[in-house]
Symmetry: C2
Subunit: 206 residues, 2 copies
């Protein structure tokens, strides 16, 4: 998604070869127009599938789940990061390790809102280690629902997340795929340069 890549180039802060901050327009301050466009892009990619619900994890996935829900005309659910006082009924839950915060937490979804009739699109802001997304995939499996795809806004393709999801046969699409980055320089896959794209394919043995 060209407009997204351009915005990342302009406003993204690369703090190290693994940490990219996009909190001026995606996940602290949010450009609502861009978020809506991201929802439309998810519709372009996944709109042919019979999706009944969008699933994400609080908090930074919510704006993109909402945008996808608007575009696809379906409700969304955000998994809570721990059991709250008012989330007292039966839940599906999965443990997740956060590498950003260096801590473990539980994500959970009320059993009332996910079941065998649901065909789910999972949406999140980042695909990096894939920890939260694997947790959501586990929850969807536990609920007997069907996972039709995972859509992420930004993918750090040099981390293991995509591989973990694809090993499970999951259909993964990210709107901006970062091949590599260092402060001051960022390379996207496919939409950046043929060289980058080639080197990724070669390293993947294609």
């Amino acid at each position: 998604m060209k407009v997204l890549e351009e915005r990342i180039r302009q406003e993204g802060l690369i703090l190290s070869d693994k940490v990219l901050k996009v909190d001026s327009f995606l996940n602290h301050q949010v450009d609502t127009e861009l978020a809506l466009a991201i929802g439309q892009e998810f519709k372009r990619i996944f709109g042919h599938l019979p999706i009944t619900k969008i699933l994400t994890v609080e908090a930074s996935g919510i704006q993109f789940a909402m945008a996808a829900g608007i575009a696809l005309g379906v409700p969304f659910i955000y998994a809570k990061k721990r059991k709250a006082v008012t989330l007292s009924e039966a839940v599906y839950s999965a443990p997740v390790h956060s590498f950003t915060r260096q801590e473990d937490y539980q994500i959970s979804i009320s059993q009332k809102y996910l079941g065998p009739a649901d065909k789910v699109l999972v949406v999140d802001d980042f695909l990096a280690t894939g920890a939260a997304l694997v947790g959501l995939a586990d929850i969807i499996e536990e609920a007997g629902a069907e996972l039709l795809g995972v859509g992420c806004v930004i993918e750090k393709s040099f981390q293991e997340g995509r591989g973990l999801l694809e090993q499970r046969g999951i259909n993964v699409h990210s709107l901006a795929r970062i091949a590599s980055m260092v402060p001051g320089e960022i390379h996207f896959i496919d939409n950046d340069s043929t060289v980058e794209s080639q080197s990724m394919k070669e390293s993947a043995g294609c």
Copy 2:
């Protein structure tokens, strides 16, 4: 907002005279159509003001801040509930006590995204004790920005939140104002019954 009140009557779970669960359509599973309509209602109420930014607190305020941002054509910011590894720069912050979770936490906003040029609408899902909203008002003051109004989806009018905000001269509007509730019964102010509305006015000394 009639459609919202009806939905609360149909789907809201009143667990006690203080706890209302609306997680089937507002703050766990989210009806995106209703969320958009809520954004439009905020526009109807606050749209004449020169708002430059919407402010909320993660996580359950995000969908309504986004809806208001869409309706008003402005970005939104969600305060983070504690300092994350990637939120390392200077922040405005305020302490908040959560009565739902019975714990204290900090809310913070990067100083980069809020300043004297900003005219802010604060949006949240619930107005009850007002703790988080008072924290946001403090942050806005600290940033030198102007707070033009507070818009809440549901107000528990029998709790002190509205009073605390109005004491500070803040312009508060809620889309569904609950006068009282017990399991199986809920009364809204003004849009419910004249009796309810009257008794509220009398108790307020009007």
